[in-house]
């Protein structure tokens, strides 16, 4: 597949300079590298700037409601395990209104990839604090003072037992493509946190500021060591990027195949409605 074949019917509506353009390019490159066919791929999102993503792709897409990208994506994957399902969205969508689903996606380990574009602000509604806004961020909704701590999405994903946890940065498309490719290839729930600055409403977390903070995880970081991964996620001395953690365990779909196998052991391979009806006779 050529990258150009993934171009959607709608032209990206993000502001010029928005970090999300880089994520769109990186995902297209990863998909082209893995030869993802447009008709076998679905991009699912909720609501927010980054959630407009599916319109800009030529694949199947489901732009759903605020916070619900993960349940829609997991439902689709369970119904059609052979389809490549990628959930996308922002920090407000995935950590605030949809936060509960993030926990359970990690626990269930569906074979989908979740790319969270974190601009540390609500941008579609023109600038209000999000769960990842930094100290000192003032907006029209908190004009006097900053009032709540920020949360750490990578640390959350690690504690929810997501089986692939990585972080990238919109300023480094090459690395972003690598970790997205790793996530797409990974069998299980892959979470990719992308620090993706907003050029319009977030002056605190600008490209320049983030660039100062970003550093690669050490070459010798052991990806299977979850505690060590958490230490890097916690680290006060910078914003680590790369693959924090990767492990293999059965996916939700695989586990459900066991359920089906057991049920069929009882009912036989060709269970009919008439067979089921017998319990009522």
């Amino acid at each position: 597949m050529e990258i150009s074949e993934y171009k959607g019917r709608v032209k990206p509506s993000w502001c010029p300079g928005c970090g999300n353009h880089a994520v769109l390019t990186a995902l297209k490159k990863s998909m082209a590298g893995l030869n993802y066919e447009t008709h076998n791929t679905a991009i699912v999102s909720g609501i927010g700037c980054s959630s407009r993503f599916p319109f800009f792709m030529s694949t199947y897409g489901f732009h759903s409601i605020h916070g619900r990208a993960l349940p829609v994506a997991i439902g689709l994957k369970q119904a059609r395990p052979e389809i490549n399902v990628i959930a996308v969205g922002g920090d407000g969508d995935g950590l605030s209104i949809g936060g509960n689903h993030f926990i359970h996606a990690g626990r269930k380990n569906p074979n989908i990839t979740y790319i969270m574009m974190d601009n540390e602000i609500y941008a579609l509604t023109k600038g209000q604090c999000s769960p990842t806004s930094r100290i000192g961020t003032t907006t029209k909704c908190n004009p006097y003072a900053w009032t709540a701590d920020r949360i750490n999405p990578v640390l959350m994903a690690l504690s929810f037992n997501a089986s692939y946890v990585a972080r990238g940065y919109s300023g480094d498309i090459k690395q972003l493509e690598e970790i997205i490719t790793g996530g797409l290839k990974h069998k299980g729930f892959s979470f990719i946190h992308v620090v993706s600055p907003c050029v319009q409403y977030n002056k605190v977390s600008s490209f320049e500021k983030i660039k100062e903070l970003v550093r690669n995880l050490p070459e010798n970081h052991n990806r299977e060591d979850r505690i060590n991964a958490m230490q890097y996620a916690f680290s006060p001395d910078g914003l680590y990027t790369g693959v924090f953690y990767q492990t293999q365990r059965p996916t939700y779909e695989e586990r459900y195949q066991e359920v089906i196998a057991k049920a069929k052991q009882i009912a036989g391979d060709n269970c009919t409605i008439q067979d089921v009806m017998k319990q009522f006779k």
Partner: protein
């Protein structure tokens, strides 16, 4: 005697529900008609009382209400609650091991105070008192010959448990039978109960009927969150769906549950969820998404008393407004209300057919009196059921596929991931035919009309309203859902007493088939709208939507909102009252009536 009511009562944890279930299965399997009513507290054990009523009859009975023939009490409180409701000549059975200060007395009934606990203890476990009592009931009804069948049903019910459990229960039942035959000096008349078996039939609960219909309609995906009294649907499907390669997925909340179902439906798989009031409120936003994105999905709402947590185990029909108008925006959908257990099956089949054909969310309104109620259903002709699948587009290379093509019927063919050249994006944003989001005024107007046009197309397909009673009656009843049994029985009684009444059950409540109501109302002087809620939700809908109909007709309401289902007696009394008032040149001083 060809029609009797048995009531088994006690404290939760005493096995009231198990013994009632076993007895209802056994009677149905012997070929008699049985209908039941269950009431229990939400706590598994504790002080809550459990009531299981069965009506066994030669001909199909519609409700399990009326005076009790045989009352079995495993605790003290329910004796005094129930003794007054026993029919003259009926029987009270209670445990003589209970310490009761003033034993119950009534001269016109037979009271058997029997050592249920002792008999149970002798057979192995005092906990099997319920089975001893059941054995006694079976032996009293000796001409129904239930013994053999009930032993089979005990085996079936406990087949997953240890062998000893089955044996203990069977021994206890046998001991009850033996005691009745050998020790009890009978003074009751229940040997006279003798019915013709009417052959094979099905017995199931309303919740099971919904599950069975889902699988039959081709549903292969269910996502849900546990909630009383709807959980039984997900439990049943959890067991049965995987046998067909389908999935039942327990979600983290109801919002996830409906969104999982929408994801699966987008994948081209027929999907559903089931819930009750609180969960239904949480699902509203996603119901709007299904409406806007035009995704088929079925939602069963097994209503309970609301608002908020309300009374989780008791029945009400107070979610009608939420079903019709709960979602923000102009939101086309279809709302169906099954009248009884059999109708739970057929309306759920309709629900899937409508959802697939019109690409709308379809809501099935059951309730706490209908969902857990077990009753006989005539055999279902699966082979001849009409099953509808969504319309697929004609996809070709180079041909642009527009998901939301504005057609004459409003229905646009729908592709699913995996279909080549069918790629498209669906969205809850207003969108063009080419599925691009837009705020353009002309597009929002055009697409709103397109989505509602589907309902106009659908209206021609709705299954007929059910009527009951004399067509030339001047008193009409319009009602919906689970009230039907009590209403029809009340109409029969009214007829016996010379009052003609006809009832109308539209079953499709939204979009409201105003023509049916118009036809029905034509020759009626008075209409009573009967429903189990405070706000007269259906009545206000009819009055609001049918203002053009027959202005002379008086529309009254008869409402109940105490958590218990209507009984035929109270509906008959209302009919009688209304008919007398009508004869007195009907004038009401209350403000609880409306003219069209």
């Amino acid at each position: 005697m060809k029609d009797i009511i048995i009531k088994i009562t006690g404290t939760s944890g005493q096995g009231i529900i198990s013994s009632g279930d076993i007895l209802s299965y056994a009677t149905a399997r012997k070929g008699y008609y049985v209908t039941t009513y269950r009431a229990f507290p939400s706590e598994i054990r504790g002080d809550g009382k459990c009531y299981y009523t069965l009506r066994i009859s030669e001909h199909k009975a519609l409700t399990a209400t009326g005076e009790t023939d045989i009352l079995v009490c495993l605790d003290t409180d329910t004796i005094f609650e129930g003794i007054g409701k026993i029919k003259k000549g009926g029987v009270l059975i209670y445990d003589s091991n209970l310490s009761i200060e003033n034993p119950p007395k009534r001269d016109d009934i037979v009271i058997y105070s029997l050592p249920l606990g002792d008999i149970a203890k002798e057979t192995g476990s005092e906990r099997s008192r319920n089975m001893v009592a059941l054995g006694i009931v079976v032996a009293l009804l000796n001409n129904l010959h239930l013994e053999e069948q009930i032993l089979k049903d005990i085996e079936l019910r406990y087949k997953a448990k240890a062998k000893e459990v089955i044996e203990t229960n069977k021994n206890a039942l046998n001991a009850g039978v033996k005691y009745t035959k050998e020790t009890l000096i009978r003074t009751d008349k229940y040997s006279e109960v003798n019915m013709q078996s009417s052959g094979a039939k099905l017995i199931m609960s309303g919740n099971e009927a919904i599950g069975l219909a889902a699988i039959t309609a081709g549903c292969r995906f269910f996502s849900g969150y546990p909630i009383t009294p709807a959980t039984e649907i997900m439990e049943w499907l959890a067991r049965e769906l995987p046998k067909f390669g389908g999935k039942m997925i327990q979600c983290e909340d109801e919002i996830a549950a409906i969104n999982y179902a929408l994801g699966a439906s987008y994948g081209g798989v027929k999907s559903m969820t089931a819930t009750s009031g609180p969960g239904f409120s949480l699902m509203q936003e996603a119901i709007g998404l299904a409406s806007m994105a035009e995704l088929p999905v079925v939602i069963a709402d097994v209503q309970r008393c609301g608002p908020s947590t309300g009374v989780p185990t008791k029945t009400e029909q107070s979610d009608l407004f939420a079903a019709m108008y709960g979602t923000h925006g102009d939101c086309p959908k279809i709302v169906l209300a099954p009248m009884n257990v059999a109708d739970c099956f057929y309306q759920t089949i309709n629900a899937f057919n409508f959802a697939e054909q019109y690409q709308v969310p379809v809501i099935v309104l059951s309730d706490a009196s209908l969902g857990p109620r077990r009753e006989c259903v005539d055999l279902i002709d699966i082979e001849n059921l009409k099953i509808v699948n969504r319309q697929k587009p004609d996809l070709k290379e180079g041909k642009i596929y527009n998901r939301y093509e504005d057609t004459k019927s409003g229905i646009s063919p729908i592709s699913a991931p995996g279909d080549k050249y069918g790629e498209h994006v669906i969205t809850g944003l207003e969108h063009t035919e080419e599925n691009a989001p837009t705020p353009a005024p002309e597009v929002h107007r055009q697409m709103t009309e397109k989505r509602f046009r589907k309902l106009e197309t659908a209206a021609g397909e709705f299954s007929k309203a059910k009527t009951y009673g004399d067509e030339d009656a001047s008193i009409g009843i319009i009602s919906w859902g689970s009230t039907s049994g009590a209403v029809f029985e009340a109409i029969d009684k009214a007829k016996e007493n010379g009052i003609k009444v006809q009832a109308l059950y539209p079953r499709t409540l939204y979009p409201l088939p105003t023509n049916w109501i118009k036809d029905f109302v034509k020759n009626k002087e008075i209409i009573i709208v009967i429903e189990a809620n405070y706000n007269a939700q259906f009545k206000s809908t009819i009055v609001e939507r049918c203002t053009h109909i027959n202005r002379g007709t008086e529309v009254l309401e008869f409402l109940k909102y105490d958590g218990t289902p209507f009984t035929p007696e109270e509906i008959y009394e209302e009919i009688e009252k209304v008919s007398k008032l009508k004869d007195d040149r009907y004038t009401l001083s209350t403000n609880k009536h409306t003219h069209f």
